[in-house]
Symmetry: C2
Subunit: 381 residues, 2 copies
């Protein structure tokens, strides 16, 4: 199968991810941070190693400020709900995934008001629109780094500068960019960074994390055993224990550490160059097919490795099905859990067929995808 | 290493758990429930298979009422916080783990009051004490099935009958018993069952679940993409989607399915018989050593496979360290994230050394543990 659904989850993973997860399960599968025996200590060290590697990748000083979660959605819920209070105002974009839009919608009845800034038809956000929207009670700016529908990259460095100038916490959802684009929480003035472990970071599903700046007081979502302050019925106040109750996903986090290790070894520049090249091929190839409409920017420098298209007025689900059945090509169709984004680009009814590239895709994969779309389009024309 | 820390996490796991997780990662590691291509559908089917097996184990009718979480702590937080409202009263026991005690403590400032029913020095709870404590505003009874400190089994069937009679939702924390003891949510009148995937169910860390009766309206803890109702900014109302936002831990849940499959094949009766026998050996062996104090019931029929001891006034952490270093035996020392339980049994200062057995322990493991404790005790006497 030609796998072009990397925006949902990357597949395959580097060999070292499989190998170390299996080794962890078989050789040191104890509970980290609880017991003091050899296997438990080894498991604990493995978790810490993953924190350190993530710090290296995102330029974070203190590994204890990285909180492991089960996915980026949990990270976003934790950061958003843990920070905001009754009467607060939030600014976000019209290109957000439901992992941002749904928590903010749910918070409305708790007296928290959100402005969704309208992006243009390519999904591009103007940072000046953010600045103009800031109110006295604006307590958070949260945006995706890249749309999961169009791949459109958001100007997060500029937004971070605005946030810093105005003293407003800035949160970024890097679900589509972590592991591929350079992310520096200091340079970009990012106070909370929500990332999945299983996409560009090449770890297994079931992993994710949230970096929380030491400046912020974010309320935990869960209480429970932390292996620390066990005598106390009150949750410990220090990170990461405050946020990591119960047994962690040790094999998953170990796998994430190997995925991040792979990225660090290869370098994000090389990963990005590879994905930009393949994305450029897709844009160019699809651009030459009569009847294919490409959404979002047409320049691969302005977008992550996500290309959404439609073919005439064909049903996106049906075309994705044909790609799977007749061409053995995996894509995703429909609304991609981001209805606001589809309204922005005008595909709320039709959805899109999404091709998303990963580090293991080849030129041949892309050529096959373009050929398949060409054939389907010629049938529909 | 002789691993007697199964109450923290079971180790090792059945071979089929390792094999199927690796296969899932390598062969069908797509995102279930989102895309419609072959790999995504295969991943989705694998998740459903785990739900079905859990239904078989716990006598649950509808697989969609099983919600996957990252651990039992998340399950407990979700059920407790999702159900309770300002002004409610909760009944629980003095043997609870911090995964129950800490969320309830945190809820105090949200106007939710808890009665912690005092158990006797062995950790035994009298169901009549529950009935006497019920008030008009009692909205939940939540108890552990077995203490993680003493192994003491709670009379959950009797408590379930009381709860049913009074029309109060009943939640059980089966962290120490799932996979070993017969659990029947119908016969026991259990409305919410919180379980870890990585202990007696023999799955990997990072897995757990919550069964929620269709009768209850439990509020979700997170909102986000669910792969369903994608056009809507409001979280879908149906289980399990309502509670399972974001990409699930597919390889972990697949591994859990294999662990449960192993239990179903072997039968809980055989697993329990094995663990009861080993627990009986520990109780008998430790009982004959001068200077060893055993906590909780001395009859293996009255407790799960968890035996906590102290040796004279020796430091529990130090003795656990010696067991690891000199005897290669893994145990856990200290307060076991359950301060209330330690107050109940009188070990709040000293903690305990905890030996917990699993399905793969042997008579030889137990004999070695008894011999080691005998030697350490003779040094301390």
């Amino acid at each position: 199968m030609i796998y072009l659904d990397n925006a949902a989850t990357s597949f395959p993973k580097p060999e070292r991810v499989y190998v170390e997860m299996d080794k962890c399960m078989r050789q040191y599968g104890a509970n980290p941070g609880r017991s003091g025996h050899r296997l438990a200590l080894e498991a604990g060290r493995a978790l810490y190693r993953t924190r350190e590697r993530l710090c290296m990748l995102f330029n974070i000083d203190n590994p204890m400020q990285i909180v492991f979660t089960s996915n980026a959605t949990e990270s976003l819920n934790l950061g958003i709900k843990g920070l905001l209070k009754y009467g607060d105002h939030v600014i976000t974009s019209s290109m957000e995934h439901n992992s941002v839009a749904r928590p903010l919608t749910a918070l409305k009845e708790k007296g928290i008001d959100t402005t969704f800034i309208r992006c243009d038809f390519r999904g591009i956000l103007d940072p000046e629109d953010i600045e103009k929207t800031i109110k006295k009670n604006t307590a958070l700016i949260v945006v995706t780094h890249a749309s999961n529908v169009t791949g459109t990259l958001m100007p997060i460095k500029d937004i971070g500068a605005v946030a810093k100038k105005k003293g407003i916490p800035f949160m970024v959802d890097v679900a589509q960019t972590a592991g591929v684009y350079d992310l520096d929480v200091k340079e970009m003035n990012i106070d909370m960074l929500a990332f999945p472990g299983h996409k560009g970071l090449l770890g297994p599903q079931g992993t994710g994390g949230l970096y929380i700046s030491e400046e912020l007081d974010v309320m935990q979502m869960k209480e429970g055993g932390t292996g620390s302050n066990s005598e106390n019925l009150v949750q410990p106040a220090i990170a990461p224990d405050r946020y990591e109750s119960g047994t962690p996903n040790t094999p998953g986090i170990v796998g994430l550490g190997e995925g991040v290790g792979f990225i660090l070894d290869r370098g994000t520049a090389a990963v990005r160059e590879h994905e930009e090249k393949l994305t450029g091929m897709l844009l160019e190839g699809f651009g030459e097919i009569d009847g294919v409409k490409i959404y979002g920017p047409k320049n691969s420098k302005l977008k992550a490795g996500v290309v959404s298209i439609n073919i005439l007025d064909g049903d996106s689900g049906e075309i994705s099905y044909i790609l799977d059945k007749s061409y053995d090509i995996a894509t995703r169709a429909g609304l991609h859990c981001a209805p606001l984004a589809h309204r922005t680009i005008g595909t709320f009814e039709q959805g899109t067929i999404r091709f998303s590239v990963g580090v293991f895709n080849t030129r041949e994969d892309i050529e096959a995808a373009i050929k398949a779309v060409e054939e389907i389009a010629s049938e529909l024309r």
